[in-house]
């Protein structure tokens, strides 16, 4: 998952980015002012935007309004130090999905970020299930048919992304965009290697089972669907 963090306070941004990367395994891009944040958000590659309200050049509300004016449905979490309910009501009415008042708890921020991403993908519970694979997004653990599958952070992130988009063909480019921030080199063969490893680990967990991840040559990857009971023969 890739998060855009728009925050002008350098130290706070550093801490938030570190926490989101470390504890949630997100790719984080950081913008230091409203205009930069708006420019980043135009790429439409983010699964969540964390937006400070008081920003230089363009304030958080302005960024939010531009985002929503572009019909961008990316979940937005607002960080605010403002007092009073009126500001919060205005923010939520302008299209924000949630807010946190400064000084906030890092754990709460991460939980809310995860919940917003989950909701944004249409999942209500932190436990994702497809075929016989279970992904616990809180503990970042994966089980297949009851046995634990040990994945690297990148492999986990690829799987989680695919689990969030069942039946959808996800291109390598999309995976790159959503799993890495701008600080990473973009090489699609890196993705290929990770997907290959991921598939091996998943298939090793249950012998002679159908592969969980399908490769559609030239198009991307797709989570295998459960064979429907009636057409099993």
């Amino acid at each position: 998952m890739r998060v855009l963090l728009v925050e002008d306070e350098v130290r706070l941004a550093e801490n938030l980015a570190a926490a989101l990367r470390d504890a949630a395994g997100f790719a984080v891009d950081w913008a230091a002012d409203g205009e930069e944040g708006d420019a980043f958000a135009r790429n439409s590659v983010y699964d969540l935007v964390i937006l400070d309200l008081m920003l230089p050049k363009l304030d958080g509300l302005g960024v939010l309004k531009r985002l929503r004016a572009r019909k961008d449905a990316t979940p937005v979490l607002i960080l605010t130090a403002k007092e009073g309910k009126a500001a919060i009501i205005e923010l939520l009415n302008a299209g924000a999905d949630d807010y946190l008042a400064k000084p906030f708890d890092l754990g709460e921020l991460i939980a809310r970020a995860k919940a917003l991403i989950r909701r944004g993908k249409g999942a209500a519970h932190p436990m994702l299930t497809a075929v016989n694979v279970e992904v616990n997004t809180l503990e970042q653990t994966v089980h297949r048919a009851g046995s634990l599958v040990d994945l690297s952070p990148t492999e986990y992130r690829i799987l989680e992304y695919l689990m969030h988009h069942p039946r959808k063909v996800v291109s390598k480019r999309e995976l790159l965009e959503h799993l890495y921030d701008y600080n990473w080199e973009h090489h699609s063969n890196v993705i290929e290697a990770h997907v290959s490893n991921l598939r091996k680990k998943l298939d090793a967990a249950e012998s002679d089972a159908a592969p969980v991840i399908e490769t559609l040559r030239g198009r991307g990857y797709r989570l295998a669907t459960l064979p429907e009971p009636g057409r099993d023969e």
């Binding site: 306070e9 130290r11 706070l12 002012d33 920003l55 008042a101 000084p103 708890d105 890092l106």
Partner: protein, 469 residues
């Protein structure tokens, strides 16, 4: 109305009007008394003359050998209470009214004509003395004999005085009635006349820190006596609202800054606790936390400094004074390491002494803030010029850097609290955006001025002017 208050314009005006009316009434009574007395007594005197004349007419030839005269009372028709006496030229009494003992012998001969006041039988009388003459036997050869007589005639004055007092009582009664009527009438007129003032007060009473709307009634605006008050109220409220908004903005900004600073410290600590780390990682994290705390400390210290400077606007007991040159040199020494680190040279031109009305602490606060700003905005290898000059009534200090300058659109805001020219950069260097605000507060408290001129790409010059101490 406002009768429970000790001073009321209405009551004072009513009292003034009544006092004037009372004085006028007294004057009317005194004048009318004098006038009535004069006219009534004139008429009375004319009447006395007439009656004395009729007494004189009753003096007749006695038909005796000495050609004497006598008083014939038979034809006299006079009021019963009147008194009279008639003497002849030898002082002999010719006749007298029956109700009187007379003034006595010799009176007629010695006194001249005129009026006399007497109390007769317990009553006040006004007496007329009049000389007259009679010709005895005018038919005889030689034209008869001329006989002189003196008539003394008096009538009681009670009725005259009664008429006078009656007239005066009418005037007095009228005045009293006017007083009684005009009191409430003036009160009513004043009450109506002061209605615009009450309207204004009611509207002004509605103004509070949360509701600044003040639209004075048209009557208050167009009433000549109220227009200055209305105008003053409007401008005072406007200034107050402005100050309130500024204060509220400051509190909100301060809260934002403090919360953000606390959020940084908190997140640094929580980040450290997210997972188990190596001792080296913990050490590095603790160092960062300490640095974050230092920033919070600096922010709090600056806010307190600003609060101290701004709250102490009321004049201190002893006017402060210090030598700006000494202060400048000391600050330059303190900043030497910063300047060396940024490889910026600081040039100074200053006279021997320049006394300014600041405490040494405040002076250093201003100089160090300005110098630090200049150093932070100077590129490597650049120069910062410090220039102190003494004019005939002021001390001028200029701090010039050759940095990136300030965008003209935001130059007006640089003295605002929490304003940062370059947001992220200033935050990164630890500035809270209070330095220039503190300088401005210190300088203005001392009766000086501070101004900033900047050309983007060329540099910034801050000029401080202080009165000489």
């Amino acid at each position: 109305m406002t009768s429970n208050l000790s001073r009321s314009i209405t009551w004072r005006l009513i009292a003034a009007v009544l006092a004037v009316e009372f004085a006028a009434a007294v004057l009317v009574i005194v004048l009318s008394w004098g006038y009535e007395r004069h006219t009534h007594f004139r008429a009375f005197d004319v009447m006395l003359h007439g009656r004395a004349d009729s007494v004189l007419g009753a003096v007749q030839d006695a038909e005796d050998t000495e050609d004497n005269v006598m008083l014939d009372k038979a034809d006299l028709r006079l009021p019963q209470e009147d008194i009279y006496e008639v003497y002849d030229e030898r002082g002999r009494l010719l006749g007298r009214s029956p109700n009187w003992q007379g003034l006595g012998e010799g009176f007629a001969a010695t006194t001249k004509d005129g009026f006399v006041r007497k109390i007769v039988n317990g009553r006040h009388y006004r007496l007329l003395r009049m000389h007259g003459s009679r010709i005895v036997d005018p038919g005889e050869p030689g034209g008869g004999k001329l006989r002189h007589v003196a008539v003394l005639y008096g009538a009681p004055t009670e009725r005259v005085w009664g008429a006078i007092w009656h007239a005066v009582a009418v005037y007095a009664g009228g005045s009293l009635l006017l007083l009684l009527v005009s009191g409430p009438l003036v009160a009513w007129v004043l009450h109506r006349g002061l209605a615009p003032l009450r309207d204004l007060a009611a509207l002004a009473g509605n103004v509070s820190a949360n509701a600044w709307e003040f639209e004075p009634p048209e009557t208050a605006r167009t009433t000549r006596e109220l227009a200055p008050l209305t105008h003053a109220l409007e401008s005072v409220l406007e200034r107050l609202e402005c100050a309130f908004v500024q204060q509220r903005t400051f509190v909100s900004d301060a809260a934002h800054e403090l919360k953000t600073a606390v959020a940084v410290v908190k997140s640094s600590l929580q980040l450290l606790g997210l997972r188990t780390r190596t001792p080296a990682e913990y050490q590095a994290g603790l160092d960062r936390c300490l640095a974050d705390t230092a920033r919070l400390e600096d922010l709090v210290a600056k806010m307190l400094t600003l609060a101290r400077v701004e709250s102490a606007t009321t004049a201190t007991s002893t006017p402060a004074a210090c030598d700006a040159v000494r202060c400048l040199e000391e600050t330059m020494r303190e900043m030497e390491t910063v300047a060396a680190l940024r490889q910026v040279r600081v040039d100074k031109t200053a006279p021997e002494h320049a006394s300014v009305p600041l405490t040494a602490e405040d002076c250093q606060l201003v100089v160090s803030n300005l110098l630090l700003n200049a150093l932070q905005h100077s590129p490597t290898g650049a120069q910062v010029q410090l220039n102190l000059s003494v004019m005939h009534d002021a001390v001028e200090m200029r701090v010039a850097d050759h940095g990136e300058g300030i965008d003209p659109t935001v130059q007006a805001q640089v003295f605002d609290r929490f304003f940062r020219g370059d947001h992220s950069r200033s935050r990164a260097t630890g500035g809270a955006g209070l330095g220039l605000a503190i300088c401005k507060a210190v300088v203005e408290k001392a009766g000086g001025s501070i101004a900033l001129a900047s050309t983007p790409g060329q540099g910034t010059i801050v000029t401080v002017r202080l009165p000489r101490a």
